[in-house]
Structure formats: C-alpha cells, structure tokens
C-alpha cells in the first residue's frame, strides 16, 4: 500500500513538473510587465514535441538516442525517493540523500556525453560548461548534506524530516539557515537558472544547458525538457521539505494526504515566485564568475557544518 503511494507521489511530481516550469515563467512575465503565456503552456509544448518527428545527426551514435531515456529514468527514480507530500517513503531504504545526488549526476553525465556526440562546437561547449558547474557545485551539495545529516544523525531523508518535525527549534538554528542558503545557490546552478545559466536563451554563446541539448528534437527533446522540469521540482521539494517539513503527511489518511498535496503546491508556488523574482532582478554572471558564487555557497555550507559542531 505505502509503496503504491510512493509511486503515486512520484507520478504526481512528474505531472506537476511542467506546470512548475510554466509557473516560474508566468511569474517572471508578470514581474516584467508582460502578460506571458499561461502556466500550463509547457504541457502543450510537451504534447507538441511528442507529436513531432525526431531528427538525429548523421554523426550521432546509439548513445545520443539512449541518453534522453537515461536522463528521464534517473530523474524519475529520484522522484520516487524524496518526500514530496508525505514522509517517510516506503522506498526510503533504497536511496538516501547521497544516492539522490549521484542519481542526478548520472543524468548530467549522460546528457554531457550526448552533447559531445553529434560533433558540434555548441554541444561540446555546453557539455564542458555543464560538467564544470556540476563539478564545483558538488562539494557544496555534499557539505549541505553533511550539515543536515549531522543534526538528524542520518542521511536518510525520512529521518531528516522526522528530526526537524520532532524538534522545530532545529529549523531556525544558524546551521540550518546557512545550509538552506547554500543549497538554494546550488539549486540555481544545478537547474540552470539565472545568474548561472539562462533558461530563456537558445542561441547565445553564454548558454550552457540549452547548448548541450541543441541537437535534440521531437520526443527526445520532450523527455529532456520534462526531466529538466522534474529536476527543478526535486530541488524545490528538497529545499522546502527538508528545511520546512510542516504540511507533509506523517499519517497516511486521505485528509492528511490531501493537505500534503495542497501544502506542497503552495510551497512550490512560493519558491517559484522567489526564483522568478531573483531572475528578474539579477543579470547572468559571466561563466568564469560562477565559481565565485559557488565558492560562496561552499563557505556557507562549511560554516553551517562548523556551527552545528559548535552548538552541538
């Protein structure tokens, strides 16, 4: 039963993901005095893409055609492991927070290889930059996990949630707050948001993620776009439910689950608003300034761990 709920929650996350992307775009348009497309526009885009023929480069190998499935599959696997509307997950023992990080890295790895496969300069450029950013975001991610695990006494997502629920004072300790800030910066970097990457450009020399997937079309592009939306949702879910777990259903009754869904959507909408506001306010950083931003997040994460030690 609870395993079925786990799957249902993953499918719900998958269904919400395009809407979340659309919501960020809609917020952004409104903040910039544009009317903007409706939040559900990405659903239409996906349907359109799934109906189109795929075009594949002559130079590409089987890896190019397999990568979208691996990216989509590994991201979806993560959606089954993380707490979105209830905790703890029945599948919680399958993978902890570290496993989540490495499953997401699996998708990035495959996509970077696929970027190199057609042999264009754009693809190589995107792949090279994406791996650079992923590599220097990794230490922050690990340290933020360390900080959370230190307080919860476990890297298991369910236990981290339970610990904060049981001891609400934890949520406002300096360690927690700094870990949140660090993870927020990493979220921007990992999901290709401003000021690290611009999700709205398709033909600029500054692009990262979009350059890597430039050769994709049809159903392959649809899978990749969908997985990217899901990755954004996953990071939002981690940010909201690990640091502010209230609203998550802890007993599996229909009412509490409904409340869980409602609260989750509210949390997502709030974070979408914050990201949209930020994307309206800041300009894109030059690629070689990105490491400075990420080292800031690393220092925050390190301070978070040290303060947890000191206040222990």
């Amino acid at each position: 039963m609870s395993i079925l709920l786990d799957f249902a929650q993953g499918v719900l996350a998958l269904a919400l993901a395009p809407g979340l992307v659309g919501l960020v775009r809609w917020f952004k348009a409104r903040l910039q005095n544009r009317r903007g497309a409706a939040p559900w526009q990405p659903y239409f885009e996906l349907i359109k893409l799934f109906g189109k023929d795929g075009v594949v480069s002559n130079n590409a190998s089987w890896l190019f055609r397999a990568a979208p499935y691996v990216v989509f599959g590994s991201t979806l696997a993560v959606a089954f492991l993380i707490p979105t509307i209830f905790a703890p997950q029945a599948l919680g023992g399958v993978g902890d927070l570290l496993a989540v990080v490495y499953l997401l890295l699996l998708g990035t790895f495959c996509l970077a290889l696929a970027g190199l496969d057609p042999g264009t300069a754009f693809g190589g450029m995107g792949a090279s930059r994406e791996m650079t950013i992923a590599a220097i975001a990794e230490p922050t991610l690990a340290l933020a996990i360390f900080g959370l695990a230190l307080e919860a006494g476990s890297t298991n997502l369910g236990q981290i949630v339970a610990q904060t629920l049981g001891n609400p004072a934890l949520a406002v300790t300096p360690g927690h707050l700094m870990a949140f800030a660090a993870l927020f910066i990493v979220t921007l970097a990992e999901t290709g948001r401003l000021p690290v990457d611009n999700p709205a450009t398709h033909l600029e020399l500054t692009m990262v993620h979009e350059a890597m997937i430039l050769e994709y079309s049809g159903r392959y592009l649809a899978l990749i776009e969908w997985a990217a939306g899901l990755k954004l949702l996953i990071f939002f879910a981690l940010l909201s439910n690990l640091f502010v777990p209230w609203g998550l259903a802890v007993v599996l009754t229909p009412v509490s689950l409904l409340v869980g869904v409602a609260v989750f959507i509210v949390k997502l909408a709030f974070l979408a608003g914050v990201v949209a506001l930020l994307e309206t306010r800041v300009a894109k950083l030059r690629l070689f300034r990105v490491p400075e931003l990420l080292s800031l997040s690393f220092v925050l994460a390190l301070l978070s761990v040290i303060s947890s030690f000191v206040l222990r």
Binding site: F50, G51, K52, D53, G54, V55, V56, S57, N58, N59, S61, W62, L63, G73, S74, A77, G92, G93, V94, G95, D96, L98, A99, Y102, L103, L105, T108, F109, A112, L113, L116, D117, P118, G119, T120, G124, M125, A127, S128, M131, A135, I136, A137, E138, P139, A142, L143, F146, A149, L150, G153, S154, L214, E215, G218, R219, F288, L302, I306, F309
Partner: protein, 685 residues
C-alpha cells in the same frame, strides 16, 4: 583445498614463466603464458577467498631456503588474502587480454612500435614472475621474505615497463620508476630495520609482540618511513610522479596490472605495518594519511583533467583513486586511535571496497585504452574520435568503466564512494573537535574529487569515442580481437556485479581486518541485508534495488510512450551548423577546449603558459593564414621538488668525479694516503 591450491599457484606461474621463455612469440606461446598466469592467479584467488571465508591463517615455511636470513616464511592471513584475491581479480582478465594484445609483438611485426626491436620474449616470463612476486609479498611473514619479494616485484615490473624499449621515452620512464621504487625500498627497509633493531631475520610475529614496548617517537619514525616507502609505490602526492610516466609506456595489460594491483600493494604494506604490526598509533597518523589522501585525490584528478594522452590521464586518475582509498584508511586510523572500532571497521571496509573496485574499473579502462592504442597507434585524444562506431564493443566497455569510476549508480564506484562518505560523516563522533573538524573538509574534498572525476571521464570517453574521427588512423580503426574483448568484458561484468551485489561482498571485506590491530574479532560491525545499513542507522541504501528500479524505468518509458502513441518517426540529417553545411572534424570541440573552463577556474594551480602565433595575410590583417596555439600547465612537482633534487645529485656527482682522474699514480696516492690515515686512526683510538 589450500594444500592443492598453493602448489597449483606456484606451478601455474612457473609454467607461465617457462612458456614465456621457451614458447616464443607465436600464438601458442602467448596463450601458454596466459594459461599459466591465469591458472596461478585463479589458484591464488581461490586460496585467498578460502582464507577469508574460512577464517584461520595458513602457514608455509622453508627454513633452509635463505637460511641465513630466517628462511622463507609465508603466512596467509585474511589481510594478505584480500590482496591475493585482488591480484587474481586483476590478473585473470589481464592475462586473457594480454594473449591477444601481445600479438603486436609477434615476430618482426611492429604494430605498436615504430622501430623493430628485440627483447619482447622476456615479457611473458616477467609477467608471471611479477604476478608471483606480488602474491608472495601478500604472504610474506618475515622481514627478509617481504623485502626480497618486494624487490622482485619492483624489478620484474620494471622490465615489463620497458618492454617497448625502442620507443622514445620508454627507458627514461623506466629509470624514473626504478629510481622511485628504490627510494621507497630504502625507506621500507630502514623502517623494518629500526623496528626489528637491526635483526633482518625477524619474523612478523616477533615484531608484533615487540611493537608495544617501542618508545612512541621510534614508533612514529617507523610509521613515517613506512608511509614514505609504501607511499612511493602507492603513488601518493608528491611521490606520484612515476605513475604518469611508467603507466603509459608499459604494454596496456601491464598498465592495467600496475594501476589495478601493483600500487595497491603499497596500501597493503601501509596497513600491515601501521595497523597490524604497530597496532595503530596516535590520531595524527590517521590525520596525516587522510590529509595526504585528500591532496592526492584532488591534485590527481585536476592533473588528469588537463591530460590529452589517454593513458596518462588514466594514470593521474589512479593517483586520485589512491587518494580516495587513503582518505578512507586515514579516517579508519583516526577512529581506531579514539577507540571508535565500529567506525574504524566501516572506514577500512570502505577503503578495501574501493581498492577492489578500482582494480576492476581502472583495469577495464586501461585495457580499453590499450585497445584504442592497438587500433589507432596513438594515445593522443586530439587525434581520436568517432570510435564508438568503429569499435562498438570497446566503446561500450570503456563507457561502463568511465561511469563506474565517476561513481554513477548502479555501478561499483558509487557503492564504495558512498561507504567512504558515510565513514567520513561518522566523524562527528570523534571527541577531539580539531580532528572532528577535519572530517567536513574531507567530505568537501571528496565531493569535489568525484565531481571533477565525472567531468574528466566525460572528456575521456566523449572526445575519444564520440563524434567524428579527428585523424585518418582513427577513421580506419578496427575492433579489438576476441581475446581482448573477453578480458574487458570480464572486468565490465565485475564492475556491475560489485555494484549491485555489495551485500555479498561487504561482509567478506568486514572479515578481512577483523581481529587485526585491535579491531573486534567479530566482523559484524555493519548489518547487511539487501540494503547497506550503517551502524546505528546512520545511512541506508540498496544499490541492488536501485539498479532494479533504474532498469525497470528504462524498460517502462518506451512502453508507456508507445501506449501514448507518441510520434516514433526518426529522420537522419546533418548536424546543425548555423546554416553552414559540410561539417569537418576541425569544427568539433577538442579535448583541450573541453577542459578549458576548469583550467581557468583552477588557474592558480595550473599557471598555464600560452603561446599564440598568428600568420596574417600580407595584404590585410583581417585574413588569417594560420594560427598556432600552444599551452602548457606548470608541472609544479618537477619544477619545485624534483628538478632541484636532481640538480643537487648531479652537482654532488660532478664533485666526486674530480677524484676520478683515471691516472694510476693518483690512485696509488689515494691508497697510500688511506693507509696512512687508517694507521693514524688505529694508533689513536
């Protein structure tokens, strides 16, 4: 069983060595060599597995052989058995692969060599000698046996390194290797001599018994000597320099063995001396090992990223992986010194697991790089590309290795890195806050390393195997021979098996160090069922279920898409080129360009020198006739550490040479002066 297996191991290697000497370079000789090596390694594997599964140690001795030095004493305990298993795991696929690969050395054919050359006959002999001496290092039970086998191992591997001695640079690389190996030998021997009080026939038992009585300062000196000596074999920074020199020039199956197995024996020595014989020490021992490991890991992968020579890249990545293992072992020594035995056990298991995994995936990657070298005659990635279509099997195996070394689930690298992370996360239990604060830094370094490793292996696989070939040899590449594919396939299977079946492996690894150096004799420090669970529920994960889930999802997605009637038509077309048609390899991203962002990020370390020559058209500078770009990173260790050292040695040699004039009269004078001097000294003393 062991009564049969031990003689079988010796017989197998002896047979292989003889076949190497007498069998010639033809197909029969090559396969007989591989048969002997495989038989010996297989028997060793069985022997080691038996000891680990069954517990008790096995003893063989031959007091008459080398009687002047305590005789040949062999004892196989669980620690040695683990490394015997490692040798078997690395050697069997390498031997099979080698039978195919060595075809290049057949008769006068010079597939891998630009110049005809003699001397490859000995390589089969040396290969078996090398494997035998490594096996006996892991079994040695007195100082003499250990040092003798250690030296035999270094020498036989030296001869293997210089197999292609007519190639430019091979002999020089060999000299570096020999020099570093002997520097290490001196440190190890000096450490043992101090330990045993000069008695070079002392057995390990007597050392173990006497260790507690030694003064603390002496124990630390012995530890430092062992760390330097074994560290030079293990390739820890700054003693790593021989790896990127010797690994690329050796035949590829030997590179796989050196990187997968030989350097691990440095870890064996370190564990044997510091944990078993000395019985552990103060926390700073572990802190030093952890720190050196972290530096090796980060620097190793940073240098690997800048490398465009495929085999040198892999060699630097070995420095990185040895760093990761040392981080785990260092954390283990720290926990051990604070009496946190469960965490110490976990750290050592993590380190040993990564040791085994590294043998599997680095062996696989070296064999894959060898297949590429075999097919294209170049190791320069800038001249490769597009091999995935010409060598699909090799490409697939290399991809498995690249994913495994990047710690991607569900392969083996992920499991061991997860264990190392968990071990380091346990660091908050350390009572001393300075030591405890090292742990989060180590976690950050390990994460940085693993992120950079992913970038590095995207480069290694992507530039070598994907897109359009960048040169004619790459275009005309051929698939590896069946024997070579079999060797790679075995290791790829092992990468998958060690990844999805950790619950079968970890309890055995838990037994390896049980009861050694004060660790609890009851090996069950971790509970393992289908998922890995840390003590006190610190972390839990199931790579097996994760693999099942991933495969299930991958199978499900196309089915669901088909049910949803998505458009499944596919058109092949040119790569989009901004309106320009006719794509050439020169438009592709190069290996140098791929690493450029990271070169900029870490520019303080690399200090790249850049040289740009542009030839303009005489009429207008808007038309460029040719551009030449050269860039090099600063080789810090050569420049700051080794060059002054070598200069010093040369200077001293020049000074001493003045004594040697070659004139007989002068030598007669020396003799008489010495005589007079000695007489005076004897008179006064």
């Amino acid at each position: 069983m062991s009564a049969v297996l031990f003689p079988l191991m010796l017989a197998g290697y002896a047979f292989g060595a003889l076949a190497g000497l007498l069998g010639g370079r033809g197909s029969v000789g090559r396969w007989l060599v591989a048969l002997g090596a495989g038989l010996g390694a297989g028997a060793g594997l069985g022997l080691g597995a038996g000891v680990i599964a069954g517990g008790g140690a096995l003893v063989w001795s031959s007091p008459d052989l080398f009687g002047f030095a305590g005789g040949l004493q062999l004892r196989l305990d669980t620690l040695g058995a683990a490394f015997l298993v490692l040798i078997g795991v690395g050697a069997i696929p390498a031997a099979i692969y080698g039978a195919g690969y060595s075809e290049a050395y057949e008769d006068g054919r010079t597939a891998l060599r630009r110049h005809p050359r003699q001397g490859a006959e000995a390589s089969g002999f040396m290969l078996n000698l090398f494997l035998l001496s490594m096996s006996l290092v892991a079994m040695a039970d007195n100082i003499f046996t250990f040092l003798f086998m250690w030296e035999a191992m270094s020498l036989s591997s030296y001869f293997l390194v210089i197999t292609e001695s007519s190639e430019l640079g091979t002999l020089q690389a060999g000299q570096w290797y020999l020099g570093m190996a002997h520097l290490g030998f001196v440190c190890v021997a000096a450490g043992f001599m101090l330990f045993a009080g000069g008695d070079w026939a002392a057995s390990f038992d007597s050392l173990r018994a006497g260790a507690a009585a030694l003064p603390a300062a002496l124990r630390s000196i012995i530890f430092l000597l062992a760390l330097a000596g074994f560290g030079s074999k293990a390739g820890i920074v700054p003693l790593h320099l021989w790896l990127p020199m010797a690994h690329p020039v050796a035949p590829s199956h030997v590179s796989a063995l050196m990187s997968g197995v030989l350097i691990k024996l440095g870890l064996y020595g370190l564990l044997r001396v510091s944990l078993d014989l000395l019985g552990g020490g103060p926390a700073w021992w572990g802190g030093l090992v952890l720190g050196l490991g972290a530096v090796s890991a980060v620097l190793g992968i940073l240098y690997a990223l800048m490398e465009n020579d495929l085999k040198r890249l892999l060699a630097y990545s070995s420095v990185e992986n040895m760093g990761i293992i040392l981080m785990a072992l260092g954390a283990g020594l720290i926990f051990h010194s604070y009496g946190l035995m469960a965490l110490a056990g976990l750290s050592f298991v993590a380190g040993l697991y990564h040791t085994l995994n590294h043998a599997a995936f680095k062996g696989l990657l070296f064999l894959g790089a060898g297949a590429v070298l075999h097919a294209t005659h170049t190791r320069n990635m800038e001249l490769l590309g597009g091999l995935i279509k010409r060598m699909p099997w090799t490409a697939f195996f290399f991809l498995v290795g690249a994913a495994a070394i990047s710690a991607l689930p569900p392969l083996n690298g992920f499991v061991s890195e997860w264990l190392v992370f968990q071990a380091l996360l346990g660091g908050f239990q350390i009572p001393s806050s300075e030591m405890a604060l090292i742990m989060p830094l180590a976690v950050g370094m390990l994460a940085l390393t693993s992120g950079l490793a992913a970038a590095c292996f995207v480069k290694a696989f992507g530039i070598t195997f994907l897109a359009i070939p960048r040169s004619v040899p790459a275009e005309q590449a051929h698939e590896a021979t069946p024997a070579m594919r079999a060797g790679m396939g075995l290791l790829a299977l092992l990468c998958l098996g060690l990844g999805v079946l950790p619950f079968a492996v970890v309890p055995l690894l838990g037994r390896v160090l049980a009861g050694i150096g004060g660790l609890p004799a009851d090996p069950v420090v971790l509970t393992f069922n289908l998922s890995l669970q840390m003590p006190a529920g610190f972390g839990q994960m199931s790579p097996s279920l994760m693999a099942v889930g991933l495969v299930g999802l991958l199978a499900l997605i196309p089915v669901v898409l088909r049910m949803l009637r998505v458009n499944r038509r596919l058109r092949l077309s040119d790569t989009w080129g901004c309106g320009r048609t006719g794509q050439t390899p020169r438009m592709e991203y190069t290996a140098t360009a791929f690493a450029e962002p990271l070169r900029r990020v870490f520019t303080q370390l690399y200090r790249p020198t850049k040289e740009l020559t542009i030839d303009f058209h005489p009429e207008s500078k808007y038309f460029v006739q040719s551009i030449e770009y050269r860039s090099q990173i600063t080789p810090w260790f050569e420049k700051v550490l080794y060059r002054p050292l070598l200069e010093g040695i040369r200077f001293a040699a020049r000074m001493v040479r003045r004594l040697q004039s070659g004139s007989l009269h002068l030598y007669l004078l020396y003799i008489s002066l010495t005589l007079v001097l000695l007489l005076i000294v004897a008179r006064w003393l």
